[in-house]
């Protein structure tokens, strides 16, 4: 039994910002029933059928992202343009604890599933919507995806080197974090419902969730009137708060190889200097943080000279052995296939997808001592569990189910 085996989620969400939330809940036992559109073959979700692919096969059942983001879910199809499709969704809502979606704001209401309509079906339903700017406000109609949310929330700007364009995040960080915060919203909504008997509509704006992640810089602005848009900022490989020197990502031997080093205090630096064991490092003039900060550019250049001819793993290991935080900048292969920190955790479980076969996927970065997560089943094929859900959960007989399929309702 999983931690949430008593919870059922009627899941209209997708992509990663929505699917990632219900993915987690499914891995800890919630029954997540993902509802897709048979007419468009589920391609509202842009990763359904999108690469990369495990082999030469292509099509809606072969997208590895969709498989990754939807493990342990059941998949059904319902044509919500048709009244009979809507009626089936109502039946599903009636036996669900939670309804989730991350359509553009207003889509659910236009389909006839506003919160008022949902709670008329199930008074204590926990309804969680996640969109770029939330369900109301001047920018509600604006279209977003991860990179846009990251840009408008302040995260993209905060990541970069001085004198360069913003580096931003090289992936949809806020799809991941949006999904994680959405999972928090769902769980908090359930806890509240269980205590009070009361459901509610939780409206998440992914942009606001993003802006909660730049807090100290914001307070520097609201309290000290100091904007982050200023000369020399951002310089995000360095550490200004707290001030730490040296602190950076340095080149190492080979093509595009790098090593990150972070001295937390004077002791870390003295240990690092002993590992380097050259006069410029052990020089007493660099003993204190203030002294090192005053010559940070020159010190970084020296360190880069030292690291440049050395193996990134060897540098990191020698520093860590001395107690100094350091790490090679890990390529996917390094951290997935050659890292005890992930393999001992069991971080890359193999999920079985009905068409793709066995594929490794993201695991969960938590372990529960009594009710741990489990990932065995891959993402559902389009409508893979329609018959099962309509029959076992909604009590339809085989004739009815067949007729719904023939009429294009499922």
């Amino acid at each position: 039994m999983g931690a949430l085996s008593h919870i059922r989620i009627c899941d209209l969400s997708g992509q990663l910002a929505g699917a990632g939330a219900t993915r987690y809940l499914a891995t800890v036992g919630a029954q997540v029933i993902r509802v897709e559109d048979p007419v468009k073959q589920g391609t509202w979700d842009i990763v359904r059928g999108a690469g990369p692919f495990v082999d030469d096969r292509r099509g809606i059942e072969f997208g590895s992202g969709f498989n990754n983001h939807n493990v342990e879910k059941l998949g059904i199809t319902l044509n919500l343009r048709e009244e009979r499709g809507k009626q089936l969704l109502r039946s599903l809502v009636a036996v669900s604890d939670v309804v989730t979606e991350n359509f553009a704001a207003g889509v659910m209401a236009r389909m006839g599933f506003s919160y008022d309509e949902l709670r008329a079906i199930k008074p204590d339903i926990v309804y969680v919507s996640n969109s770029g700017f939330g369900a109301w406000g001047p920018h509600t109609a604006f279209k977003t995806w991860g990179p846009i949310v990251q840009a408008v929330s302040g995260l993209t700007f905060s990541s970069g080197l001085p004198g360069e364009a913003p580096a931003g995040w090289g992936y949809s960080y806020m799809d991941h974090m949006g999904a994680d915060v959405m999972a928090v919203a769902i769980l908090a909504g359930l806890i509240h419902r269980n205590r009070t008997g009361e459901g509610q509509w939780i409206d998440m704006s992914c942009t606001e969730a993003g802006t909660t992640l730049v807090g100290p810089d914001l307070l520097d602005y609201t309290i000290n009137d100091r904007p982050l848009r200023r000369e020399g900022e951002p310089h995000s490989n360095r550490s200004h708060a707290p001030l730490r020197v040296p602190h950076g990502i340095y080149p190492s031997d080979g093509d595009d190889n790098w090593v990150a080093i972070a001295c937390r205090d004077d002791d870390d630096w003295h240990r690092m200097a002993a590992v380097i064991d050259e006069p410029w490092a052990t020089d007493a003039r660099n003993d204190t943080l203030a002294e090192r900060a005053a010559v940070q550019d020159a010190l970084d250049a020296r360190i880069a000279e030292w690291t440049r001819t050395r193996d990134r793993f060897a540098v990191a290991e020698s520093l860590r052995a001395a107690g100094v935080p350091a790490s090679a900048v890990a390529r996917p292969e390094d951290r997935i296939d050659h890292d005890l920190g992930t393999s001992e955790w069991g971080l890359w479980p193999t999920a079985h997808h009905t068409e793709m076969g066995d594929v490794r996927v993201d695991g969960i970065p938590l372990h529960f001592s009594e009710t741990d997560w489990s990932i065995e089943r891959g993402g559902p094929c389009l409508g893979e569990h329609t018959h099962q859900v309509l029959s076992e959960l909604l009590g339809l007989d085989d004739d009815e189910i067949e007729r719904l399929a023939k009429d294009g309702i499922t």
């Binding site: 931690a3 690469g51 990369p52 992202g65 700017f133 001047p138 990179p147 846009i148 949310v149 840009a151 408008v152 302040g154 700007f157 990541s159 913003p166 580096a167 090289g170 992936y171 949809s172 960080y173 974090m177 994680d180 915060v181 769980l187 806890i191 509240h192 269980n194 998440m204 942009t207 606001e208 969730a209 802006t211 992640l213 100290p216 810089d217 309290i223 000290n224 951002p234 550490s239 730490r244 950076g248 990502i249 790098w258 090593v259 990150a260 972070a262 107690g323 790490s327 900048v329 890990a330 996917p332 992930t342 001992e344 955790w345 970065p365 938590l366 372990h367 001592s369 009594e370 009710t371």
Partner: protein, 423 residues
């Protein structure tokens, strides 16, 4: 269970009302404690004598370097009360045991082994309190070969995958750490997911449990295609300026506008309506004759847009698609960033302005949704604006119930008062 929030005058209690959390102050889990507190739990943060080290992290209010003015501490410790305990003494350890005796959740980010050595680790305190939920947020998890390696936000983001995907087209520049302690944020958010999952499980089983959070593992599964592209297809992504790292180099999507600020143009127009909007925008700005590929936009409208599927077989479709992107770039270079953002979005074209945190905070949208939250700081003699709720939860609202505690501000109230039950 104690619940200070129940006598709130301003109405509804948060969703975690009634849960008591004892948090041992740490960098890693501070955001997790804040999230639980802002959601209504009674969070008591325990600091060592003199206060936790993160009170030494700047910036400081009015730039006065003082443990009571650290904006790092203020940001991550809202809605908590604070006590000081010296856990290295028998008395301090005993006080912690009493504090935990009626707690629902313990949240900590100590190096594995530290608490066991003091006799106040999970097995010690759970022995006669089987409902206790214990959440550990550590670099590599509590067990395993790497459990004792030193790590910081930088080394976690470097070793866990995010940094490899972030940076510039120019690979002579290093990969970039995303700013703002995000390894801690990732770990803390997972910690809250784990804690609340354990609360729901306990409602059924009556038993608490240990939740082990590895920030390294959490970073590893927060890299999108950087991870699943390798898992599924052994692909290695390459970092690219301001856009997704991909196995091959893609077209730039981040443009510098006329005012020197940047915008992200995202995915170019494809539908007929997109092209109509784009052409209308160019005409409104008076660039119909100046933009060299207006004719391709006209063609796009005539043929009803283009699809991605057509790109591989139809040269004209590819040219039209390229012209759409060129048109966005053309406009971006000629107008200020904010005007581009609003101009594009009101025409249904997805795009974003690369806002600094303070710019992101001052938008009409954010204000309208109540995201700017005033928190009273009597020490400054004024209220200060903080970032607000990540989601709106009307029946049980997210709320900053109080500013971060001073060092030991509630030690007497909590340890000597009637709050502490003998168990």
């Amino acid at each position: 269970m104690t619940s200070e929030g129940s006598d709130e005058l301003d109405g509804l209690a948060g969703p975690l009302e009634g849960l008591k959390v004892v948090e041992l102050a740490s960098e890693h889990a501070a955001l997790a404690g804040k999230m639980l507190g802002d959601l209504g739990a009674d969070v008591i943060v325990v600091e060592p004598p003199g206060g936790h080290a993160s009170r030494g992290y700047g910036p400081f209010a009015d730039d006065v370097d003082d443990p009571e003015r650290s904006l790092w501490w203020w940001n991550y410790n809202t809605s908590k009360r604070g006590v000081v305990l010296d856990l290295t003494t028998d008395d301090g350890a005993e006080q912690l045991r009493r504090l935990v005796a009626d707690a629902d959740i313990v949240l900590e980010g100590e190096v594995p082994g530290t608490l066991a050595a003091l006799g106040v680790d999970h097995p010690d305190l759970r022995a006669d309190h089987e409902q206790l939920i214990w959440v550990s947020v550590t670099a590599f998890g509590r067990e395993g070969t790497r459990a004792h390696e030193p790590a910081t936000d930088l080394t976690l983001l470097a070793g866990g995958g995010p940094a490899w995907s972030c940076g510039y087209d120019d690979h002579s520049l290093p990969p970039v750490r995303g700013g703002g302690n995000q390894a801690f944020h990732i770990g803390s958010t997972w910690a809250v997911m784990g804690a609340l999952t354990a609360v729901l499980a306990r409602e059924v089983t009556g038993r608490g449990q240990h939740v082990d959070v590895s920030m390294h593992a959490a970073c590893n599964v927060t890299t999108e295609m950087g991870t699943y592209g390798y898992l599924a297809a052994q692909e290695t992504v390459l970092r690219q300026t301001g856009r997704h790292a991909m196995p091959t180099i893609s077209m730039p999507t981040q443009m510098r506008c006329a005012d020197g600020r940047y915008v992200t143009t995202g995915f170019p127009p494809r539908s007929q309506r997109d092209f109509e909007s784009l052409l209308e925008w160019i005409e409104t700005l008076g660039y119909r004759d100046e933009f060299p590929e207006t004719m391709l936009l006209d063609l796009a409208i005539e043929r009803g847009g283009v699809s991605i599927a057509e790109m591989s077989t139809d040269d004209l479709a590819r040219d039209i698609f390229g012209a759409g992107r060129e048109a966005l770039n053309f406009i971006a270079e000629r107008i200020p960033a904010e005007e581009f953002f609003v101009g594009g979005q009101t025409r249904g074209l997805a795009c974003g302005v690369v806002a600094s945190p303070e710019e992101a905070f001052e938008t009409e949208h954010i204000k309208a949704r109540g995201f700017q939250v005033e928190v009273e700081h009597e020490q400054l003699g004024r209220a200060v604006r903080y970032p607000g709720a990540p989601f709106l939860m009307p029946a049980s609202p997210w709320r900053i119930s109080r500013r971060a505690p001073l060092v030991g501000e509630h030690t007497d109230q909590i340890l000597d008062g009637e709050e502490l039950s003998e168990r």
